[in-house]
């Protein structure tokens, strides 16, 4: 969360793509908000039980999927992430009882609205992964990464220069400060 907020602090927008050398094939950049009680533990389990899942995901631990605000999702897309995954406990066993129900309403509204606006639906995905579902977490991340590969890079907010969708130097090209 600190890295994400740090990025927002100085209003930067960054383009994760340019982190890799231009020759290598484009890899989607996925930001995952994982609820620490279930999904984060699930991700942990996937790791300890050697489950293979693509490394495109950057994980941010949030107290509950209900904590994920629409601003986080839009800021992530604005910063240049190709997709956002919000994952929380199954409805009913949320540590805070109603956190994931609220998240469900909020994310449903955001998904539908972004779809209407023209954002490819695969860019925002949500899943219920419990602490014991290591396998499901790996599967979800693989599917989401595959979806993003089909959809292509996130050029939603790039500044158009004389018509062509090019990346402006000062506008989009930035590497996430991995601290």
């Amino acid at each position: 969360m600190k890295l994400f907020l740090r990025l927002c602090y100085n209003g930067t927008s960054f383009d994760p793509r340019s982190e890799m050398s231009p020759e290598s094939e484009w890899e989607p950049k996925l930001l995952g908000f994982l609820c620490r009680w279930c999904s984060y533990a699930g991700a942990d389990l996937a790791g300890t039980s050697r489950k293979k899942y693509p490394a495109n995901i950057r994980i941010i631990k949030v107290p509950c999927s209900g904590r994920v605000d629409s601003l986080f999702i839009l800021k992530a897309l604005r910063l240049g992430f190709d997709g956002v995954l919000v994952s929380g406990c199954h409805p009913g066993d949320c540590h805070y009882q109603t956190g994931n129900y609220r998240a469900r309403r909020r994310i449903a509204i955001i998904k539908k609205f972004l779809e209407y606006l023209g954002v490819e639906p695969q860019r925002l995905q949500a899943s219920w992964v419990s602490a014991s579902e290591g396998g499901k977490f790996a599967e979800v991340v693989t599917d989401v990464t595959q979806d993003l590969k089909e959809v292509g890079p996130n050029q939603l907010f790039e500044r158009k220069k004389n018509g062509a969708k090019t990346k402006a130097r000062s506008e989009g090209a930035a590497r996430a400060k991995e601290d």
């Binding site: 100085n10 604005r78 509204i109 609205f113 490819e120 949500a126």
Partner: protein
């Protein structure tokens, strides 16, 4: 209806039942009205009700202190109810003077139809479903559905449910959803990249005057996320990316509170079709959760309530 309003307002003020009255008075330009917010009974003579009472007066309620009487059309009464649901306004502090609203005339539509600007028209008069416009002598007639605001055509509650005094007889809603939803339907035909590009073009005109936010009764935050500097979610410069994110987040925040009063689109000085956003959010909320904003004073607000089973198909 005007006479009754003036008597009621004068009586309420004189009997000290209320401290303030919010209503409409004649505007300084032709065919306009302007909000009248006053304490002394003498001003109640200036209260009017005519086909041009466009403002949503509920947006003034959050900054008023004391007991307030408010003239409320259908959409205003729904905004008031939505404010009550959010505990921003106490029902007992309010005296709602309900106005069964026949729909407000959209001067921009008349300008397009007649080809003359609003201050060149001589007169606009309406009786029932016929609206006649007099332009340098010649009279032109239009049907109501040609000249009313889109949101008035789609109105589901012309007569306020929540009122203390009803100033006229009840009106049945007769929404013409097809006509009012033309812009949204047209947008839905485009592909997603075309739709996004159309929003990019529209929002590049925005100058961040925040009239759409300040005129909206559902936008009552003390400090808006746009004014947040730590962290800086959205840059304050009027760049189309930040303007679009501002509109997206604003619509997500007012989901379940927006009563489709259409003010945001009317006041935008650079003519951005904002109602195509708010109306779509209104429909999404209706479709997903069967929730209509501002209908029932005791219902829980949209985001506070939840059902066991809903919108499961969107989740993996």
């Amino acid at each position: 209806m005007e006479q009754k309003l003036r008597q009621e307002a004068k009586a309420l003020l004189e009997q000290k039942k209320i401290d303030w009255i919010i209503g409409f008075e004649a505007g300084s330009l032709k065919f306009t009205t302007t909000p009248l917010i006053t304490k002394d009974a003498a001003d109640t003579e200036r209260l009017v009700i005519n086909p041009f009472i466009t403002n949503n007066l509920a947006s003034f309620l959050t900054e008023m202190k004391g007991r307030v009487a408010i003239v409320a059309k259908g959409c205003e009464s729904r905004s008031i109810v939505s404010l009550i649901q959010d505990n921003k306004v106490a029902r007992e502090d309010l005296v709602i003077l309900g106005v069964p609203c026949p729909g407000i005339i959209d001067l921009a539509k008349i300008e397009r139809l007649v080809g003359k600007e609003r201050d060149e028209l001589d007169d606009i008069s309406r009786d029932g479903d016929k609206v006649s416009v007099k332009v340098n002598g010649k009279k032109k007639d239009f049907t109501a559905s040609d000249v009313l605001f889109d949101h008035c055509l789609a109105c589901e509650l012309p007569t306020p449910q929540e009122y203390d005094i009803l100033l006229g007889e009840e009106r049945k809603p007769s929404p013409e959803l097809k006509v009012s939803g033309q812009n949204i339907a047209a947008l839905k035909e485009l592909t997603s990249t075309e739709r996004w590009a159309s929003w990019e073009k529209e929002l590049s005109r925005c100058i961040r005057c925040y009239a759409c936010r300040n005129v909206c009764p559902a936008c009552f935050c003390q400090r808006c996320f746009v004014e947040e500097t730590e962290p800086q979610w959205v840059m304050p410069m009027p760049r189309w990316q930040d303007n679009l994110i501002f509109q997206i987040i604003r619509n997500i925040h007012v989901a379940g509170r927006c009563t489709d009063c259409g003010e945001c689109e009317r006041v935008c000085p650079v003519n951005i079709p904002l109602r195509s956003l708010t109306r779509e959010m209104y429909d999404i909320v209706d479709e997903l959760f069967k929730f209509k904003s501002g209908m029932d004073k005791d219902a829980l607000p949209l985001m506070v309530h939840y059902e066991q089973e809903e919108a499961e198909d969107l989740f993996r």
